[in-house]
Structure formats: structure tokens, C-alpha cells
Symmetry: C2
Subunit: 191 residues, 2 copies
Amino acid sequence: MTKVIAEMSMSLDGFIADENDGIDELFGWYGNGEVAVPTAVEHMTFQVSPASAEHLRPAFAGAIGALICGRRVFDLTNGWGGKHPIGCPVFVVSHSVPADQHGAAFFTDPLEALSAARKEAGDRDIAVATPTITQQFLDAGELDAIVVSLVPVLLGRGIRFFDNLATTPVRLSDPTVTEGRGVTHLTYNII
Amino acid sequence: MTKVIAEMSMSLDGFIADENDGIDELFGWYGNGEVAVPTAVEHMTFQVSPASAEHLRPAFAGAIGALICGRRVFDLTNGWGGKHPIGCPVFVVSHSVPADQHGAAFFTDPLEALSAARKEAGDRDIAVATPTITQQFLDAGELDAIVVSLVPVLLGRGIRFFDNLATTPVRLSDPTVTEGRGVTHLTYNII
């Protein structure tokens, strides 16, 4: 049964990037450990703590059938060079289509993107990799789970994971907790 | 050795109260369990999960020698009726002194309040119970630890635990994690 899962690395004060889209303070845990987690991209292998490796492995072993993101992260990563590290098809929510789509599919309506992603994913899960789309899916009741990889830092300012929520409170389950190094992975179901 | 510790219940999106100072969504874990934790106030006993009881007990068994708060929470609680549940002396940071001080000490300068609290606490720890003072102590390098009792809810708006930080990033240790019911207690040291 497909679950729609939003997952991001977040500072303790709620930011998933700094004011300049910087993520250096938040992504250190991807490279601070002794366990190699290969990705779908040949030259990209994460080196994480054993606990984080257990947390990451399913996503990099085929559990995710589609990834939905916004145009901002797509442009920032240059469309992941045509291949997302997870190795699944990418669905981008954007008002316009770029000259080079890097193999991704583009939609103006986030719910149409979700519908197409569901068809692609089959029984596998769908990852949501952008805060604004997470917020829209939350408001539309389309999100099943939230994974916060909580990083022990206060950034003070930047881009928030959760912002502009129209329908609150959103109540969650108690989390499954995985204690990594430089990160605490918290997996919540939306109830 | 005294530690200055800021501790609050916080939603996953960073709020310690809603827009109207409401805390109903955040304080449920104080009453959802089978273990009684008595407080210094005769009629006030918490009923929490076994894990939360372990987390709470030291504070209610004399580990905290002084508590620092702002005028807002002091007024909202009516000065805790003259006795804080922790049972320790209360130091209030405020621009003015109310007619009824409820036995608390008042200071205009947060660092003077801290100095007085240190004298009172001796070797015991000092609790900081207000976000703005937490922020000021963080900026002044006077905070040793942050305890976030993370509640599985998104509030969308309200009063944030961490806001207006002048000096960032603030790097923290990996947390000690205690998994309660309706709350995850995360204890970070500031490094």
C-alpha cells in the first residue's frame, strides 16, 4: 500500500535550509559515519552511522517508487543531473517547463503530480522532497507520514519545513526514533 | 556543577503555545499516563507514561535550585499562586514589579536575574522557562543545555521556542532521547 511520505533534514528550530539555500549545517550526517550506503548515482555513496544506514537503506533499495519536488530544488540540483540518488522517476510541480527537463515530468497542479506519481509508484511509496508541496499535501489530506531527520543545530533563519499550514492542528502518531550521529530520525504517521 | 537548562514542550513545527497562549495541544502528555509524579504543589500531581516519569523525576526531586521566567508566563499563571510546581524560588525578568510578587524576585536585566539565581541554586541546576530569555541566554553564551519535549502535532502558528537568535548557528550535542507517550524528550548540550 503506497504511503506518501515527506522527508527532510531539519534544524531543531525548524529550518531545512539557510537563507541562501545552504544545507551544509544540515547534511553533515550523510558523510560522518563508517557505513557506506550506495545510491543510484555511481559516484555518490553516503557514509553514515550504523543507525542512519538502517534508516536510509529502504529508500535506496527500491522502497520509493516516485519522488515529487518543487521547481526550486529541481533547479538548485540541476535536475539531479538526470538521475535522483534514490533512482526513481521525478515529478516536478512548477508553473513552467524548463528547456532541459532532465527526464522529469512537470505539472502545474500538485495533486495532478501526485496522481501521476501514484500511477508510476504502484505499491511503492512516494517521497515528497519540498516544504511547500508538503504543506499543500497536508492541507489536502494527502500526506501519510512525515520523516524529520532532526539535526542538533539552531540556524536562526532560513526556509522552514512547516509554514503557512491552513488546517491545524495536525495530529501525528508518536514517532519511531532512530538515533544516528549528528541526526535523530523521527518518523511520524499522520492520524 | 550548576547547569542552566531551558526546557519547554514544543510542537514539531516549533511552537510552545498557540496564538492565544493556549497549551492544550502541548501539555496532554502531563496527564496521559499511569505513573504519578507528585509536584511541590499539594493538589497537583502529573500522571505520565513510565518514560516521561523517569524524565521528569529529577526536576521534581530537588535537582532544580532556581527557575527563571518572563513576566508573561508569570502573569498567565498568576505567579503559580506563590509556589512553582518544581518547588524552587522563582526569578522573574520584567520591566516592572507587580503589586503581588507571589514571593518571586524581579529583575529588569536577565543576566542579573541569572546571577541571583546562581547564588540561590548553589550546585543545583537552573531552569529557564521562557523563550525570550532562552534566546537571550543563548546569545550571551550562558545556556548549557536545551530540553525539548517534542509533541507530535503541527500547530501552524503561535509562539516559537527559538526566534530572533542573534548568533547562529548554535551547535548542539546529539540528544539524549526519552520516548514518552505523546511526547519525545530530547536533551541537548550546547557545544
